[in-house]
Symmetry: C2
Subunit: 448 residues, 2 copies
C-alpha cells in the first residue's frame, strides 16, 4: 500500500505534477503519508511535506517517528516550525525535545508561544523516564460545586485544546485532586446534580517522579485509559494517556528481547543504528563473552592428560555444553518474562527454586539417558556413556537452577534480569559442565 503510494509520488515528482501530489495526498490517511515520507529522500520528503495543507501537515507530523520528525523540521521555515511545535501535543513534544541537541531545543523553545514555552520547560524539568516527562497539562478539570450542566458547558468550551475530554478530573480550590468521572457518566447524570455527588473519589494517581515502568504497570493492572499525575502537594498537574504507555510496553519488550539476545545497549531499532554503531554495541558484548569463555580453554588444558588418554571424551563436549546452555536459556527465559509481565516477583523465589530443581532433575534423567545411549553406541564403551550421561544430568540440574535464579538475583541487586538471561549463562554452564564431565570421567574411568 505505502509502497505503491511512494512510487506514485516519485512518478509525479519526476513529471513536476505538484498539484497531482497534493490531490493524491489529500485522499490518503496521515499515517500512510508519514510512512511514505520516511521512504523518500530527505529533500523530496521536505518538499512533499511543505505542499500539504496545514491541518493535514500537523496530523502527518504526529504519525512520524522521532527521526522522521527531525528530518522534516530541518527542511521547514521558522514560521512553519513554530506552527507545528505550538500545535503538537505536549507529551509528543517532550519526547521530541529529549532526542534533540540542547542548541536545537533552545532555538525551538524560542519559537513557542509564551504559554507553550512555560509548559515545555516545566515538562523537560522532570527526571528522564518519569511520569512528568510523559504527561500533558491539557486535561479538563471540574470543580466539586459545579452542576452537571455547568460542567458540560465547561467541557464544550474547552474541548478543542484538550488531549482528551472523555476523562474529567475534579479539583479543589487549591487544585488538589478530589476525584474523577467519565464523560459518559456526566452525560447520563441529571443536569442539576452537583459534580461532588456523581464523581468517583479516591481514583488512582501517580506522582510526577513515578518511574515510567510503574506507570505502565498501573495502566495494565487497572485497565486504565488515562492516569492523573499529582505533585508533592497532591495538586493535579497533568494526565498520561494510554497511547504513550503502549509505546513504553513495546519499548521495554524490545529492550528485554535485545538484552536476552546478547545485545548491549538495546534502545534502538534495527535500521536506526549505523553499521558502525551496530558493530560497536555487538562487538563490545561479544568481546566480553569471548574473554569469559576463553577460560574454558584453561579448564580443558588442565584435563589434557585425560583427554589424551581417551580422545573420545572430546567428541561429546559440544553436545554437553550446548544442551546445558539450551536448558538454562529455557528457564531463564520463563523467569525473565514472568518478571516483565508482573506474574513473578521476588517473593516467588522459594517456589521457583523447588520447581526448577524438580524440572531439572526430570529433564536431566531423560536427556542423560539419551546421552548415555548415544555415547555408548558411538564408542561401544559403557564408561564413556556413564561419564556423558551423569555429567549431562548434573549440567541440566545446574543450568536449570542457575538460569532461573540469575534473573531473580538480578532483581534483588536492582539489575536488569534480561541481561542475566543472556549469554552470561552460557559461560557459567560451560565452566561447570566441563569440570563435572572430566571429574566424573576421571573417577569412573580411573584416569590421571
Amino acid at each position: 500500500m505505502s509502497n505503491r503510494l511512494t512510487t506514485s509520488i516519485q512518478d509525479l515528482m519526476l513529471r513536476r505534477d505538484y498539484m497531482g501530489i497534493k490531490k493524491l495526498l489529500e485522499e490518503t490517511h496521515p499515517s500512510d503519508i508519514a510512512r511514505v515520507l520516511k521512504d523518500l529522500q530527505p529533500d523530496t520528503a521536505g518538499f512533499v511535506f511543505r505542499i500539504l495543507p496545514k491541518d493535514l501537515a500537523i496530523d502527518v507530523f504526529d504519525f512520524m517517528n522521532i527521526d522522521g520528525k527531525q528530518m522534516i523540521l530541518h527542511s521547514l521555515s521558522s514560521d512553519m516550525i513554530s506552527t507545528i511545535l505550538n500545535e503538537m501535543s505536549q507529551d509528543d513534544r517532550t519526547e521530541l525535545f529529549e532526542e534533540l541537541p540542547a542548541k536545537v531545543v533552545k532555538k525551538y523553545l524560542s519559537l513557542l508561544s509564551e504559554k507553550e514555552r512555560r509548559v515545555a520547560n516545566m515538562l523537560l524539568g522532570y527526571p528522564e523516564d518519569s511520569a512528568g516527562r510523559l504527561m500533558t497539562t491539557a486535561f479538563v478539570d471540574l470543580k466539586e460545586h459545579q452542576t452537571v450542566d455547568e460542567a458540560l458547558a465547561h467541557v464544550r468550551a474547552t474541548a478543542p485544546d484538550k488531549e482528551t475530554i472523555y476523562h474529567l478530573y475534579v479539583i479543589s480550590k487549591y487544585r488538589k485532586l478530589m476525584g474523577g468521572l467519565s464523560l459518559r457518566e456526566l452525560i447520563l447524570a441529571p443536569g442539576s446534580k452537583s459534580i461532588h455527588e456523581i464523581m468517583n473519589p479516591g481514583i488512582k494517581s501517580v506522582s510526577t517522579d513515578t518511574d515510567q515502568e510503574d506507570v505502565a504497570r498501573i495502566f495494565e493492572d487497572y485497565d486504565l485509559m488515562v492516569l492523573p499525575v499529582v505533585d508533592k502537594e497532591e495538586r493535579l498537574v497533568g494526565i498520561i494517556t494510554y497511547d504513550d504507555v503502549f509505546d513504553i510496553v513495546r519499548e521495554e519488550d524490545t529492550e528485554d528481547i535485545h538484552l536476552m539476545g546478547g545485545l548491549g545497549a538495546p534502545e534502538e531499532t534495527y535500521f536506526s543504528l549505523s553499521i558502525f554503531e551496530d558493530v560497536k554495541r555487538r562487538g563490545g558484548w561479544l568481546a566480553l563473552l569471548i574473554l569469559l569463555e576463553s577460560f574454558s580453554g584453561n579448564i580443558l588444558e588442565a584435563y589434557s592428560s585425560s583427554l589424551e588418554t581417551v580422545i573420545a571424551l572430546a567428541f561429546f563436549i559440544p553436545m554437553l555444553i550446548d544442551t546445558g546452555g539450551n536448558a538454562g536459556t529455557q528457564s531463564s527465559t520463563l523467569i525473565t518474562r514472568g518478571l516483565a509481565t508482573g506474574e513473578i516477583s521476588r517473593k516467588h523465589g522459594k517456589t521457583i527454586f523447588f520447581r526448577e530443581m524438580i524440572t531439572g532433575a526430570v529433564l536431566g534423567l531423560g536427556l542423560g539417558a539419551f546421552a548415555y545411549v548415544r555415547a555408548y553406541f558411538m564408542q561401544r564403551d559403557p564408561m564413556i556413556g556413564f561419564a556423558v550421561g551423569i555429567s549431562l544430568f548434573v549440567v541440566l540440574m545446574v543450568a536449570n537452577l542457575v538460569g532461573a535464579l540469575l534473573p531473580l538475583l538480578a532483581v534483588r541487586i536492582k539489575y536488569d534480569p534480561a541481561v542475566m538471561a543472556g549469554p552470561f549463562l552460557t559461560t557459567i554452564v560451560d565452566v561447570v559442565g566441563l569440570i563435572v564431565y572430566f571429574e566424573v570421567a576421571k573417577a569412573i574411568m580411573g584416569l590421571g
Copy 2:
C-alpha cells in the same frame, strides 16, 4: 498492597467476621480484589466473591484472568452465573468460552438471555484468532440523515449498554458502514447540522475474518482506540476496542520471547502450567536439539586423528562454538524483533544480507584477532593461533548471516521466525564451525 489485603481477609475469615470482609472490600479497587482472590484458596475465594455486592462482583470478575474466572464460576449458583454471563462484555465472554470445555459452554449458553445467546453463538462462529472473535456488537450506530441533536439524544438513550460511546459509527439503510465520528466532534458541532455533514467518510475497518495480528498492526499504525468490523457485504457488525489489542501485543511478545528461548508451545504463563506439562514442552524441544547437536560428535570423531596429533585443538572448541552461537543469536534477535514490530519486512532481504555480511566481517576480524592472541599465548604455537583465529572469522561471518537470514526465510515459508531465532541456530553454527576449524587446522598444520 494486595499481600497485606490478603492477610487481612484471611484474618477476618478465621474470626468469621464476614461483615468486616464486606466492608473492607467495598473500599478496595476491583482490580486489587481480583488479585487477592487469585491468592486465596478456591473455596475461600468463592465464598468471598459471593458476599460482594452484585455490581462490585461484576467489576471484580472483569479483572480476573481466565483461570480465575473459571474458578469463581465453579463456586456460584446458576442464578449468579447467569447474571454475570449476561452482564459481562461480549468480547471477554467469547475469550472465556474459548477456554472452557464444550459441555460447560453449552450449559453456560443456556443461562444467557435469548438476545445474548444469539450474540454469543455468532461470535463463537468466527474463526479462532480472527477479528470476529475479538469484537463486541455493543456499539453506537447513527444514521446519516440524523441531526446532531437527534444523534446526541440517541447516544444518551443507548449509552448504558454500549462498550464505548466515544466512537460512533454511521450506517446506511442496509447497515453498510458509511463513516465515523468521535463524541468530541458530535458535542462540538452545531445541533442542527446533519450527521452526513460532520462525519468522516472512508474510515479504517477490518473484516470479521482478519487475523488478530493484522488487527493489532492496524491499531498501532493508525493510533486507533476502536476499529469497526464489517462482514462480506460491508455491513457494520461489531467493533474491537484497544484493550483487547493491548493483550494481543503482550501475548505475541511473550510468544516470541518463549520461542526464541527454545520453549516449544509458548502460550502459557509460568505458573499456569503444571510441572508435568512444563517438563513435557521443554523436554520435547531439548530432545530434538540434543539429537541434532549430537552430530557434532560424529564430526569430531571424523577428525579424531587430527585431534590426537594436536590435542590442544580441543581446548578452543567451546570458545569457538559459543562465540559463533552468541553472534548468530544477536543478529537473529535483531531481525526477529524487527519483523515483530513491523520495522522489517521481506522486502529488506537484500539490505540485511549486505549489512550483516559487513557486520560479520568486522566482528570476525576483531574477535578473530583476539582469538589468535589468546591461542598463541596459551600454546605458544602460531599455527594453532591461525587455525583458531581464521576459523572464528569464518564462523562469525556464517553465524551472522545465518542468524539474520533464517528468520527471513521463516517468513517466506510462512513459519514463525521466532522459532528460527532459537537454538536451531546453535546446531548449524556448531556443525559449520567444527568443520571449518579442523579443515583450516589440517591445511595450515599439515595434519592427516
